[in-house]
Structure formats: structure tokens, C-alpha cells
Symmetry: C2
Subunit: 689 residues, 2 copies
């Protein structure tokens, strides 16, 4: 009753425009540019914005696609609810709308993932199992399995990683031994470390697993091949004979991806279940390679681009939106003696936690757009049999995935903390964004491993450069002569994109050449190549990072040179491009100072230039995050909603939580009661004294 009375009071308070709403409206009114114009640029044109919005509307109108209120559920409940939702999506909503969810380059797949933002075993089924059938299977095999998989009439897991083996695929232990007598493969996981571990959709859902295993025939190991292994009975879902399968348990956040384990004990599958696009075993067990299996990698490369866009970039944009809005409505302290409280965005330290990540969000968006278009061209080359750009494409996507996921993960954590205590609460939306995002630093290639792969390409390129051989377009700058001192004479010139680009090119070149030289001299001194590589690997990682950061600065600046837009939009994008570069210069100043490329005085200018840019961009923070155009449902944040009503929403959220469903939490009270009764009696006695 009491609670009800309070509610009534709050309700009437709700009616008025809250102080927080007024604050955000004022901020929004300060925006210097047309937000819709910028949204269209991000989407790739007015029509694309319309397509995106139509998709998003279909989601928001469909009660089956409502966001799940995860905070109070356990892993199983989240799992069940998410799977139900995604089953509906794949077999109903997507089908009804004719969305090509199995085609990574369909127009709708550019926008669907942003709306879904949903880890589910079924997403892994659709995103890994289905395309793998296409990658590894013959046309006949594809014709058999693909329609079933696309209709969710079988559920599949892509089973590669083992409990004891990840990155080093050649050492996977699972075996597929051909038995010519029965024309079958015998599948085995011969040790604990060999059991398949992590595959999504495997824990409780999969009927089939696409198992990567060492192919053994006639006593000889022919390396990794893909095998279609039925794991659960199609009638009752029970594990099939010889199969042990289950969930590996909860993770930091991907509660619904249904990560599982799989042991196989002499499991026999028919010969035709080996996916045979690139390899073939005849009835006598003779092994034969077919075509060029490097083609497989062409599609794997794409996975990195897609996931970096869908996860890293989308998530940092969401986190920026929440933190920027909250920083405009949260008041604390004052900037004049005894003056009124100011929104925390007025503090330079707060601006420094938010605006550089807005800049990074934009920089990565345009960098990915560039890599994507390069990838589309590359795919055409591949179809014509031209694999000459494979190495560059691999370096670029590996380095980009590592750099983008690393920087956005660090950024989201800074953004989360910038919201103080509320950023620690699930109700802010930031915790799940963070926990989901950090996974991307590890999966699809652990970042250090990817950086070192990119470094391998760069070291090879350095050797080519030293021998005067031609190099790929994206590393051409390594061959160019450039001044060995930064040309900026004053602070203004440090906003100039060409000056900033030159800084990053110089840094990358300098780091690469110095580690290349060191590597060479270690080997010349008699050290083995692999040992020397290991010894300088920290520098190799840094060289790869520097190259990627150069690439991001250069592609952003090139994009702006070719962009057709209003002066107002150009101005903020110019500022963001400069800020992204200056922020990294100030954070990694040692790289730029070490060989005297930047002077101490220029570095002071860079620092002031960054603070000045923060001040210039401050009035546009709301416009810049509004342009990402997330709905409140997508953000799932009480403190980051469009209307700015942070406090009211936090209170509504808490009041309506299951934890507060009754006045007294009986389970908790039960343990306290005997002690509190003693307390009551003592207090009663006291009051009678």
C-alpha cells in the first residue's frame, strides 16, 4: 500500500519534463550539423538508411523479438529464451521477409546483425556451420545438407577447436580413419585434450557436427579434412552411440551460444560424409587433393571483416551513445567557485574518455567500409583464379580484426567506467556490451597471433623493399621517400590530415625497419630464425599495430577527400579524423619521439591540439552519437536512452525487477529472522528503560 502511494507520487512527477530530459534537449539543440545526413553517410546512402529502418521496424513491432531481460535469469533460462527467439527468427520472421540470412553479402545482412545483437547457438549454426558446408562440400553434398541446415531441420556445429588445441590446427588430435571394408570413416577423440571443445550450438542443440579431423587412410595422415558427423538422434535428440556430448558451461557473457564438447569413440560415418570439395578418398582409400584449397581461406577472411563490423564497431558505437548521453545529463561539481553543478561532459577528463572513442567509432567504420570493398574486388579476382592478393588481404583483415577488437574493448571499458557506478549496473546496458565485445579479442584468431601473422607479411614486405621489388598497394608507403622530421610548424598544422598521415606512415616504417634490421642481425649472428623471431616478437606486434593504425588514419582521410557532403558534416568528420590520430600520437608518444620525428615542442602542440579538438567537438557529442541511430530497445540502457531520462528509467527498472516483487524477500529474511528477533527484544527492553 505504501509502495503504491509512492508510485502515484512518482507518476505525477513523471509527467513533467524531467531536468535530465531538458538537459539532453538543450544539448541536442547545439548540434551544428544535420544528423540525418550523417546517418545516411554511415549507412551508405538514403536508400540504405530506409532499408535499415524498415528492418528495424519489423523487429520492434514483433513481440517475439523482444529483448530478454537477462539480469535476473540464470544461464539455462537465458539460453532457452534466446534460442526460442532465434528459432522464431530463422524459421519465421527472416523467412517471411525473405531476408537472406545465409548470404553475408545480401543487402539486409549489412543491417540485420546490428538489430539482432544476439548470441545464440542458432546464430553460430547459421554463421559457421552453413557456410562451412558451402566451403568444404561438393555441389552434391551442398545440395543434400544446405536446404536442411538453412531450414533448421538439422542443427549443426562447426567442430574444430579441441580442449587442448586451438590456434595450431596441424596438431589437432581428432582422427578420421578410413575403413575400406565398410567404406566408412571411424571417428575418434583419443585423449581428453583431443575432445572437441567450444563449438557453438553443440552443447544442447546440434544434431550434426562438421568435425575437423586428421584424415588417416592406408596408415598415412593426410592432414585436416571436414566430416559430417551425426551426433544426436533425429527422433529423440539423444546422443548417438559412441558420442559423448554436452555443454562446456557458462562464459563471461555468451550464455546462449550453447558452446559444447564432443567425444567420439569409434563412431562410424559413411564415406560420403567427408566433405570433398578439395580432397577425395577413393573406395580403396587412395587420397587425392582436388583444386586449390587456398580458396577456402577466401571466405574465412570475410568472417573477420563481418565480425569486426558486427561486434567491435557496433558495440563501441552503442557504448559511445550511452556514455555520451549520460555524461550530458549527469551533473557533478562546478567549474566556478560556488557555481551551479555542471554536466560531467564539461570536464576535460570526461571528454577525453568519450570523444576519442566516438572518433574511433567513425574511423573504424570507414576503415571497414574500405576493407569490405577491397574484399569484394578480391573475391572477383579469386573467382577468376587470381589469388595474388591473398597475402595482403589476409594481413589486412588479420591486423584489422586484432587492432579494432583490442582498441574497442579498451574503449568500451573506459566508456563504462566514465559512467561511474551506474556503468557497473546491468541496467546501464554497458556490462553486456563489454563482456560480449571482449570475447572478440580471442575468437576467430587470438589477437597476438593475428598481429604476428600480419607482421610476417610486413617483414617479407620489408625484405622486398630493401631489394627494390614491387609491393602491394596498402604497403606502398614503405617504399616512399619522406622527410624524417614532422613538418608541422604550429598547432593548426597538426589538424592537417596529410601531416597526421605522414606521422603514422613514418612511425610504422620506423618500427618495421628497426625490427627487421634487428631480426636480420640476430640471424646473421648465428641465431636460428624462429628463435630470433620469438626474441623480437614484442616489437613485431608493435610494428603490426603501427601499420594498422596508419591504415586506419589513411583510409579515414582518403574517405573524406572523396566524400560529397555539407560543410557542416565535413567539419565534424574532419575533426574526428584528426582527433583519432592525435589521440594515438599522445598515447604512444614514445614511438614518434624516439628517432626525433616529432620534437618535444611538437608533442606539446599535439597535446594542446587534442584538448582543443575535444572542446570543439563537445557541443556535437549528442549529434554524433544520435547519428548512429540506435533505438532505445537496441541499447537496452536506462542511462543512455534518447530522452535522457536516466534516473527515472533506473528507478522504473529497479522497481519492476523480480527481486522486488514483494515487500519482504522471504528466502533472505529466513536466515536473518532469529537474530533480528533477539535484536528486537533488546531494543524493546532498552526503550522501556
Amino acid at each position: 500500500m505504501l509502495v503504491e502511494k509512492q508510485l502515484v507520487r512518482l507518476k505525477s512527477y513523471d509527467m513533467a519534463l524531467s531536468p535530465e530530459s531538458q538537459l539532453i534537449t538543450n544539448e541536442r539543440n547545439k548540434t551544428t550539423f544535420n544528423v540525418t545526413e550523417l546517418t545516411n553517410i554511415l549507412d551508405g546512402g538514403v536508400e540504405k538508411t530506409a532499408l535499415r529502418k524498415s528492418i528495424e521496424r519489423k523487429f520492434s513491432l514483433d513481440p517475439n523479438m523482444k529483448a530478454i531481460h537477462r539480469g535476473y535469469l540464470n544461464k539455462e533460462q537465458i539460453n532457452v529464451q534466446n534460442n526460442r527467439k532465434m528459432m522464431y527468427f530463422f524459421t519465421n520472421l527472416a523467412k517471411r521477409n525473405n531476408w537472406h540470412v545465409d548470404k553475408p553479402h545480401s543487402p539486409e545482412m549489412e543491417f540485420l546483425p546490428r538489430t539482432l545483437a544476439n548470441g545464440s547457438g542458432l546464430v553460430i549454426h547459421a554463421g559457421a556451420f552453413v557456410p562451412s558446408i558451402e566451403s568444404f562440400g561438393t555441389p552434391e553434398q551442398a545440395a543434400k545438407w544446405l536446404p536442411l541446415a538453412k531450414a533448421c531441420q538439422i542443427i549443426g556445429a562447426y567442430a574444430q577447436t579441441e580442449l587442448g588445441h586451438g590456434t595450431n590446427l596441424r596438431r589437432l588430435e581428432t582422427t578420421a580413419t578410413f575403413d575400406p571394408h565398410t567404406q566408412e570413416f571411424i571417428m575418434n577423440t583419443p585423449s581428453i585434450s583431443s575432445m572437441k571443445w567450444w563449438p557453438g550450438a553443440l552443447g544442447a542443440m546440434a544434431t550434426h557436427a562438421l568435425v575437423m579431423a586428421q584424415l588417416i587412410t592406408r596408415g598415412e595422415n593426410h592432414g585436416m579434412q571436414a566430416f559430417m558427423v551425426p551426433v544426436r538422434d533425429m527422433t529423440n535428440h539423444k546422443p548417438l552411440p559412441g558420442i559423448t556430448v554436452g555443454s562446456i558451461g557458462p562464459t563471461l557473457s555468451l550464455d546462449s551460444t550453447d558452446n559444447g564438447y564432443l567425444r567420439m569413440d569409434n563412431v562410424r560415418i559413411p564415406k560420403e560424409n567427408m566433405l570433398a570439395k578439395y580432397a577425395y578418398v577413393d573406395s580403396k582409400g587412395k587420397f587425392q587433393k582436388i583444386g586449390n584449397d587456398r580458396l577456402m581461406y577466401a571466405s574465412m577472411v570475410n568472417l573477420r571483416v563481418v565480425l569486426t563490423k558486427d561486434e567491435a564497431v557496433t558495440y563501441i558505437q552503442m557504448a559511445c551513445t550511452i556514455a555520451a548521453r549520460y555524461s550530458c545529463v549527469r551533473k557533478q561539481g562546478s567549474l566556478t567557485p560556488g557555481g551551479p553543478e555542471v554536466p560531467i561532459i564539461d570536464y576535460v577528463t570526461q571528454q577525453d574518455k568519450i570523444i576519442p572513442y566516438i572518433a574511433l567509432s567513425y574511423a573504424l567504420h570507414f576503415n571497414l567500409a574500405f576493407i569490405r570493398s577491397k574484399y569484394v574486388k578480391f573475391l572477383e579476382d579469386v573467382k577468376r583464379g587470381d589469388l595474388s592478393n591473398m597475402a595482403e588481404m589476409h594481413m589486412m583483415t588479420a591486423g584489422m580484426k586484432a587492432n579494432a577488437t583490442e582498441r574497442t574493448s579498451a574503449g568500451v571499458e573506459i566508456l563504462r567506467r566514465s559512467c561511474g557506478g551506474h556503468g557497473y549496473a546491468i541496467s546501464s546496458g554497458l556490462p553486456y556490451i563489454l563482456l560480449r565485445l571482449v570475447a572478440s579479442c580471442t575468437y576467430e584468431g587470438e589477437n597476438t597471433v593475428l598481429y604476428l601473422q600480419a607482421a610476417r607479411y610486413l617483414i617479407k614486405t620489408a625484405a622486398k623493399v630493401s631489394m627494390g621489388q614491387p609491393v602491394d598497394a596498402s604497403v606502398m608507403y614503405l617504399t616512399e621517400d619522406a622527410p624524417d622530421r614532422c613538418q608541422a610548424a604550429n598547432q593548426m598544422e597538426l589538424y592537417d590530415h596529410s601531416i597526421l598521415e605522414a606521422c603514422f606512415k613514418h612511425r610504422s616504417k620506423q618500427l618495421l625497419l628497426s625490427v627487421a634490421t634487428e631480426l636480420q642481425s640476430l640471424v646473421a649472428d648465428g641465431m636460428k630464425q624462429m628463435e630470433a623471431w620469438n626474441l623480437v616478437s614484442i616489437q613485431l606486434v608493435n610494428a603490426a599495430k603501427a601499420h594498422m593504425e596508419q591504415h586506419i588514419v589513411s583510409t579515414f582521410s582518403a574517405y573524406l577527400r572523396n566524400l560529397n557532403c555539407s560543410n557542416e558534416v565535413r567539419e565534424v568528420l574532419d575533426q574526428l579524423c584528426s582527433l583519432n590520430a592525435l589521440h594515438q600520437i599522445n598515447n604512444f608518444s614514445g614511438d614518434f619521439l624516439k628517432d626525433g620525428y616529432l620534437s618535444s615542442k611538437q608533442l606539446d602542440m599535439a597535446r594542446r591540439a587534442e584538448v582543443q579538438l575535444l572542446a570543439s567537438l563537445r557541443r556535437n557529442v549528442i549529434g554524433l552519437v544520435d547519428a548512429f541511430d540506435f533505438t532505445d530497445d537496441m541499447l537496452g540502457s536506462c542511462i543512455g536512452s534518447y530522452d535522457g531520462n536516466a534516473y527515472e528509467r533506473l528507478y522504473e527498472w529497479a522497481k519492476n525487477s523480480p527481486f522486488n516483487k514483494s515487500d519482504v524477500h522471504e528466502e533472505i529474511y529466513k536466515d536473518l529472522r532469529p537474530h533480528l528477533r533477539q535484536g528486537r527484544d533488546i531494543l524493546n527492553k532498552m526503550s522501556k528503560l
Copy 2:
């Protein structure tokens, strides 16, 4: 049945010493020093180790104190189970053993928190509510409330933070208005933003709240005072009239701290419920200050020291233990062409993710021991009425809390990722360590705010230095003349602690003086002080960080100068001290290069010196983390156990999880079944073709 068969096989496999166990045993045998000797040093002597171990044994033998398997529980279940456990601890186990859990300086409180490692509303009750009664209450008030609180016969929350107000205490909105007619205070939270938000133990447990509110009497505001407000009925636990109370909902990890909200609508409490150690209202409403309320801050300062030790240092030590052990048993790739797989700790990039954080763990441990002993002396001064060291003590604890929580949070995330996919699984133990730890960057003073408070002291000190006035001991180095170039002539000399100390002193001094100069010149140019402060606040934060890092390097090195130990232990501690310093020099090289203190050549030497130290310390990684002496129960990690059996434990953990309790997960299967039946029919038809 099938599963059982597999279990039997695994069982027999278990019996043999696993490859992973053999690996860790080999590593352990490489240790160059006596691990027990180092453990004793960390504990503070042989007797202290014995005390710690006796406490830990009591926990491990008590079935009521078993760790809670959180992965599969929801917030409510975790909450209920943790509270039950902690209620038992406070009212039974601790009482029985005569552990003085309410005295932060009792011998057992040095070790109890490490064993508890348990967020619960009752811990906040004991750690915040109880000591606040002592801080704010008169002897009579303490005599009334303390025994009840200590016996958990009342449960209390310390209610300060409001939904819209954190750091800026003076702007808290909650009011306590004195009514002379009834000799009562009328408590009110007049707006949504004023409701109390976050207090631990308030959500479902507290019977009382110690409410910080603006005291209003005779129409005048006398600032913040503490009021004892009954919030729930002692007989039935229902909220009292005028009170709205509930849980604010789940957070990143502190699921059991029972964080709550509190609204008060004209709640009347008797006059004697204002805690009146430092302030008094007479029956006519006349307000009067008593004594020196700065004494209150003396105990608050301690809270920062305690929490940094119990949270930041303990957690990074745990994470180091897990990551180091896993890195010694996980094999991947090879360091010779076609050679055998090697444990990943052999990779320099992996060493770089782990060993510097082992060094940091030790550095922070000794830094905290220093600050703790300084604090004990400070408390004695305070008791004698000497508050002269208050400002230095405040700077030191604020800066240390910010720096330690920031660096350990970053470190634990690096350690977590160093374990690849397994580090993302709850079963590794790393996720909860991380999520718990990152909270400490925000509570008890948000880190940026704390750095700026430390900077305020440092800027004042810089002014004193320029005027030749005396300064406190810990900033004395700012007055000393020192060479303006690093004196290291070769790589060996860069291991020298005095050379490294000089680097950090120079860097701190240089950053501080340059921002002090800039601040001064901005003000001289007519800018207002607060505006100028804001404009250079990023540099102020950096100056405060640099000072703290200097302090950590200096106290570690000073500790070693006075340490009596074996040569073998001295050797590794010397190396850790050098590594901690070199790692920061290489990470923040710009600070050391900018004014030419380090030359480019010296920086190259520093980089090589660090890699060389990683190589030297590599053989001792297991010994160094074993010395922290965590039991497997405390770590709660499948991949970090003492015996190294990472894979077997992961599998056991997964198999026994509630999710896998039956072969078929009926709830999940239910949603798949209709589609899978179609798939079965199609497949059946195919096989008949």
C-alpha cells in the same frame, strides 16, 4: 549408459599422471629459490604464515564455508546462498574462533579477507555500517548500537550515495529537518535523483540505514550529518511507514552485496538518532559543532588501504597464479622447424603478458605494506591530536588506490586473455576475478577524481618547492637536484634500482613541474583558476600517476635494501623490482624521451633489458606464484590448480554441471523438435532413394 561407459574410461585415465601434471612438476623443479621463504616474507614472518594457514584451514574444513558454484545460479540464488554463508560466518565461525572481524587492525583481519573473497551485504554491514557508528556516534550511541550490529541483531546499510549524486557530497539532496515540537528529525528524499542508491545490504536485508543527510534546523542548512533510520520492521521485516526500499538490481559481478535504494517520505526519527560525535542539536534546534571532524577522515583513509590490499592485490595475485600455471601446461606451436610443441610460456609475447604482472603483484604488495605502516604511525599522531600528516596521507592513499586498481584491472584482463578461450570460461575462475576487481576502479572514490585530488596536493607541493618551503617526506625528491640525463651506460646498469628510481623521480618531477608551469601561465594570462585546472586536467592526472609509480618503484627498492633473506630470494625479488620499473618505462617511453632524459639508445637498451629479464624469470614463474600460497578452493579455477590438471578439471567441471544433468535438454529440444522431425523425414526419404 553411454555416458557412464565414457566416465569409466576417463576414470582410469585419471589415475595416471596426466601430461599436464608432469609439465607443471617439471616447471616447479626448476625453481631457484625456497618458495616457503618467500611466502613467509609476503606474510610478514613465519608466525604470520602459521596464523594465515590456521585460518585458511578452518575455512576449508567447514562445510558451511564451501565456495558457491555461481555459473548456473541467478542473482537471487547467489544472493541467498552467499548471505546464508556469511550469516553463518559472522554469527558462528568468526565468533567461535574469536576473530575480531570488526577491527581492521586485528591480526586475523590481515588474512581473513583473502579467504573470504566474498561480496555480501553482510560484509558491507560489517565493513561500512559498523565502523561508521564508531566514527560518527557518541560513546553512548556506540554503546547502544554497536553490540546489536556486531551480533547481526540489526543489519545496517551506510546510505550516502544518491541516484543523482556521488562524488560531490555537498550536493546530496536528502534532508533531515529538526522539529522542536516533537524533538524529532523529519527525513525526506524530495526528488528521484535524491533517493539513496547503491548502499550495500539495503536491498533486502537492512533493518537500519545510517543516512547521510543535510541537517536543517531553524531554517538553516548545516551540511551533512549521519542519522540512524529504522527502515524495516524488526518483527516482520516489512518496510516501515514512509519508507520505500528495494534492490537496485544486478551488477557486473557483486551479485550478493544487496545494493539497494531508499526513499523517505516524512519519516520521523527521534532526536537521539542523529549521530552526534562531531555535531549536536539542542532541544531548541540550535546547532553546534564539536571537536575536529577531520578525525573522521583518518578512518576513511584506512578503508582505501584495506580495500586495495584485499581487492586489487589479492586479485591480481590470484590471476597471475592461474595464468602462469596454465601457460606452463598449455602447449601450442613449436620454436624449431617441425619440432615438438612447447608450453606457451616459452613465447616472449606470453611472458610479456604474465611476468610483468607477477612483478606488479610483488611491487604493490610491498608498497601497501609501506603505506600501512605509515598509516599506523599516522593514527598514533592523530590520537595525540597531530593532524599534520593528513594531507600527505590522503594523497598517498588516494593515488595508491587509483593507481593500484587501474593497473591491476588492466593486468587481470591481460592475464585473462593470455589464457585464450579458456580465460573466457567461468570455469577458469578469471571472469569473476576480473569483474569483481574492476568495480574497485569506481567505488571508494572514482579513480580520475582520486588522481585529481592527489594532483592538488602535488601542485601545492610544487608551489612550496618553488618558494623553498619544506615539503613532506614522500615528495622530498621534488626538491633534490639530480642529473638531467639518465646515467645508465649499458644494459646491465638499467637493472640497477637506483638508476631506475632516478628515472621515475625525474619523470614525475618533469611532468609535475611542466603542468604546474602551464597552470600558472594560464592563470597569469587571465584564465580563472578552476577553468585552467580543467584545461590541464589530463596532464594533472598523468602527473599524479607518475608520482605514484615513482612511489611504488622507490618503496619496493627501499624494502629490498632492508630485507634480510637468502641470496636466491634476493635475486628474484631484485629482478622483479627491475622488471616492474622497466615495463613501465617501455610502456610510457614518451615521458622519458620527451626532455631527453633517456636517449633513443638507452630506450633500446631498456627494451632489451626487459626481454632479458623475462627470460631470466621464466624458470621461476611457478615458484613465484606458488609463493602466494592460494589453495585450489580459493582460486576456483579449473586451469590454475596446483597440480596443473587443466584439461581433466575442465571436463569434470563441465560434465557435472546442472546443464548436463540429462542427455536431452528438454526445454531447448521442445523448440527444435517440430523442425527436426521434418529434417528426419527428409533424410529418411533421401536414404531410401
